[in-house]
Amino acid sequence: MFNLSYKTQRILILFGFLTIPVLLSLTFSYYPALSLLYYSFTDWSGLGWEMNWVGFDNYKEIFSRPEIFGVFKNNAYYFVGGLLQTCVALYFAIVLTSRLKGRNIFRSMLFIPYVLHSVAIVIMFRNVYHVQYGSLNIFLEAIGLGSWQQQWLGNPHLVNFSLAFISIWKYFGLTMVIFIGALQSIPADNYEAAKIDGASGWQTFRFITLPSIRSVLELMLILTLTGALEAFDIPYIMMLGANDTHTFVSKTVDMAFKFQQAGLASAMAVVLLLIVIAFIILQRKLLFREEK
């Protein structure tokens, strides 16, 4: 079919196979990231193309207006929730790799929330949390804990916990499966040896399991952190930012598309981007240290 020399073919393949993908990546990853940086120094509204250079004004505004930078405190709920989720997931991963009847079925069932549709999950929890007819309050009443009934979404002290719980509920199975993968790659010999030496369960966990999965543990921490920083869907779909539930990203989206302050929103996005990249570099560094 092709009577061309391999040299010509090589050039054709390289151009043919790489041009479009590289162009796509430049257009949808790099150009936006760079123009974001540019917009962040302007007073652009997001409508039309009129914009004036304002230097670092947007950045100053972010750090001086507590209602902007302060929303990071709402991201903290998702971070704490993520830490809790990591601990619980590690516990279940250990239990479900130990000798136990039905462990594969339990594993599959606990993973289900992760594959369910994210928007539908949030709406499902809106119904669960409903003050009067929500299944959670009805259940508490039914088991005689009527006094524990709460306005899960109405109470400003509680709402962010309720939202962070949805995130735990959805992602806990994912973390568990990742831990199970890591646990299964620990050679069984190590445990045999520990058993012969008479190590207790806790000692085995502390001195064999934990060190063996340290890199995965670190990865999970970074993912928890970046995931918490990027939290958006749950508060946005559930509350539209009402009742002090805005996260940094939902605030950015509102600032850009609702309040027409695209310049300021760009600066917020740049700040977030820098924080996230800093954490990812930190994680790579940790990983690299290990390989050395």
Partner: protein, 275 residues
């Protein structure tokens, strides 16, 4: 020692039972609500529905919420994006994995860095690109974004290409096969396991995606499943039984994929994370 083991086993089962309860309690409440009438829902609490064959709620949410349209749109978007992702991923991986050339390192580096940029942060600027290309409020917008901004598949395919022995290419070349034929008949088929995992993982993530269709396709004609249920809930928030039916329907596709292709999903999750 024996007694301690027994206590530990009981403890494990009790915690698993609690875990399962927490996972299934919300799903149970959706399941029972979906089959109840409005008055039944308000009066019967957590009891099972009277009539498991009461499909009124399903009919209503399909009609008013236009779920059928949502499924059709997301299906089109999925087919195009997945085909594109697989093609682009295997092509780039072949070109970068098999040939040495001047631009190889920069392009490789470009993909590794792009992987780190969180898409959600750059929306303000991406929005202008989509508008400029005339794709705003068109079904192409999410397709372009799923093709262009998500590079996970390239990184994964690259690892797999490096594991295919180069001897295969060379013996094909001895027989006079063209480079394109080597890609098509050797590399592409041997990447099938990675392709299977990728297709499943991406199907779930694209099906679940909310903000891309929400921001880029506000038109009612272009609603996908996630935006359809979102806009249905707004004005109908009081009809929890109807909403529950919608939630249940939306849960089904990925749940079915999961039940049948669990193996690939677990493989994808573990490979993706521990790379």
């Amino acid at each position: 020692m024996e007694r301690q083991n027994k206590a530990w086993t009981i403890f494990r089962y009790v915690t698993i039972a609690i875990g399962l309860f927490i996972v299934f309690f919300p799903i149970y409440s959706v399941l029972i609500s979906a089959f109840k009438t409005q008055t039944e829902y308000y009066n019967s609490g957590l009891q099972l529905p009277h009539d498991w064959f009461n499909f009124d709620n399903f009919r209503k949410v399909f009609k008013v919420g236009r779920l059928g349209l949502g499924f059709k749109n997301i299906f089109i978007i999925l087919v195009v994006s997945l085909a594109g992702n697989v093609l682009i991923g295997t092509m780039v991986a072949y070109a970068l994995g098999r040939f040495d050339f001047k631009m190889k390192k920069p392009i490789m580096g470009m993909y590794l860095v792009a992987q780190v940029i969180p898409m959600i942060t750059t929306q303000v600027a991406t929005f202008q690109v989509i508008k400029f290309l005339g794709a705003y409020n068109e079904i192409y917008a999410p397709m372009l974004l799923y093709l262009g901004a998500d590079v996970l598949q390239i990184v994964i395919y690259l690892q797999f290409v490096n594991n295919i022995p180069r001897d295969l290419d060379e013996s094909a070349m001895v027989e006079g096969a063209s480079l394109f034929k080597i890609y098509r008949s050797i590399i592409f088929p041997l990447l099938a396991p990675a392709t299977a995992t990728l297709i499943i993982m991406k199907t779930i993530s694209i099906y679940n995606d909310f903000y891309t269709p929400y921001l880029y396709m506000p038109s009612r004609k272009l609603q996908v499943v996630s935006t359809a249920i979102y806009s249905f809930v707004g004005p109908n928030a009081a009809q929890i039984n109807v909403i529950s039916a919608g939630i249940l329907i939306i849960f089904i596709p990925t749940l079915v994929i999961y039940l049948f292709l669990q193996r690939y999903i677990f493989a994808g999750v573990t490979n993706g994370a521990v790379k």
